[in-house]
């Protein structure tokens, strides 16, 4: 089993109030030096079977038609081995 990650972010020209709210809060919490924050979604997919070109093509299609709304969002598909949570 392998893990494929799809990152979905709002297109740069679309207002991201969530990211902005985070950014605005940072100085109050004592964190300086962050000039911009964007918030998006991360999907971790566990794929049965090999992650070959065919599988990736299907996942790309899934991202394009379903996981992202390309009217407003961009996405990237990545094969990953590191797991969130492994580091701490």
């Amino acid at each position: 089993m392998a893990r494929v990650v799809v990152d979905v972010m709002l297109k740069p020209e679309i207002l991201d109030p969530q990211g902005q709210a985070v950014q605005r809060a940072l100085p109050r919490l004592g964190f300086q030096g962050i000039s911009d924050v964007r918030q998006g979604k991360r999907f971790e997919l566990e794929v049965d079977g090999p992650v070959d070109d065919a599988a990736l093509a299907r996942i790309h299609e899934m991202a394009e038609t379903f996981l992202a709304n390309t009217v407003i969002e961009d996405f990237v598909v990545k094969v990953e081995d590191s797991t969130v949570g492994a580091q701490k």
């Binding site: 709002l10 679309i14 207002l15 109030p17 969530q18 379903f66 709304n69 407003i72």
Partner: protein, 245 residues
């Protein structure tokens, strides 16, 4: 205030009368305002017909309303999962063939996800759910659902959502304006950051309308905001369908 036919002056007999106008109301998992929409349809004098997300069968209704709620929890994006329901295949087909379709709130979100209407809905700019009595200006009476209103008329109906910010690229927005396809605009305050204060739009043919506020919650003087400004949606469609017969 709005001059609307009262339920007493229904156009074509009650639900039991012959030749009823049948308006379908779709229930998806997580739909909330389906019963309220059925009630509004009934109060306007038409016959509400329950439609189920798993059935392609539209039961020969004359028009369809996609009601508000949180279909599939609005997980992923509002309307993104329900857009792929079997019933939507038929709705998309029939909408293309000219059947009147109204998407309210979650229904509007669904219509954009299904590309029956352009643009997309995003999280409100203030990031909160907002529930308020919202003033709107009617921008066109040339849709199937707004014929009973006058252009420029101001109405107040409840707004309640967290993903209500309408966005589209400039070209699309200009096109909507140029073609007179902005149906409602927010007045007094823009409650969510929608571009150009857009509260509702229609497709080229004018049979598909989507809007964020809830006309079905403004059909009785007693409950909700105590206004009946929303009844016009349901009487408009009823009249149109009766005339078409």
């Amino acid at each position: 205030m709005t001059a609307l036919p009262s339920p007493a002056t229904t156009l074509d007999g009650g639900p039991s009368g012959r030749g009823n106008i049948r308006i379908g109301v779709v229930t998806f998992p997580g739909t909330l305002d389906d019963r309220d929409t059925q009630r509004a349809v009934r109060l306007a004098g038409a016959e509400p017909v329950e439609l189920w997300h798993r059935d392609k069968d539209l039961k020969q209704v004359d028009a369809v309303v996609l009601p508000g709620g949180f279909s599939y929890g609005d997980y992923l994006r509002a309307g993104a999962i329900s857009r792929f329901s079997p019933v939507m295949e038929s709705v998309i087909d029939q909408a293309g063939a000219g059947m009147p379709v109204l998407g309210i709130c979650n229904g509007f979100q669904l219509l954009t996800e299904a590309h029956l209407l352009p643009g997309a809905m995003l999280r409100n700019n203030h990031l909160h759910f907002i529930c308020r009595d919202q003033k709107l200006r009617v921008e066109t009476d040339r849709t199937a659902w707004t014929a009973d209103y006058a252009v420029g008329q101001e109405i107040s109906i409840p707004l309640k959502n967290i993903d209500g910010r309408y966005v589209a690229d400039e070209r699309t927005l200009d096109m909507l304006e140029a073609e007179g396809r902005v149906v409602f605009r927010y007045l007094d305050m823009n409650p969510n950051g929608s571009l150009r204060d857009i509260a509702g739009i229609t497709n080229e043919a004018g049979n598909v309308v989507g809007l964020m506020p809830h006309p079905e919650h403004a059909v009785e003087p007693l409950v909700g905001t105590g206004r009946t400004d929303g009844l016009g949606f349901f009487t408009s469609i009823l009249k149109k369908l009766v005339d078409a017969r």
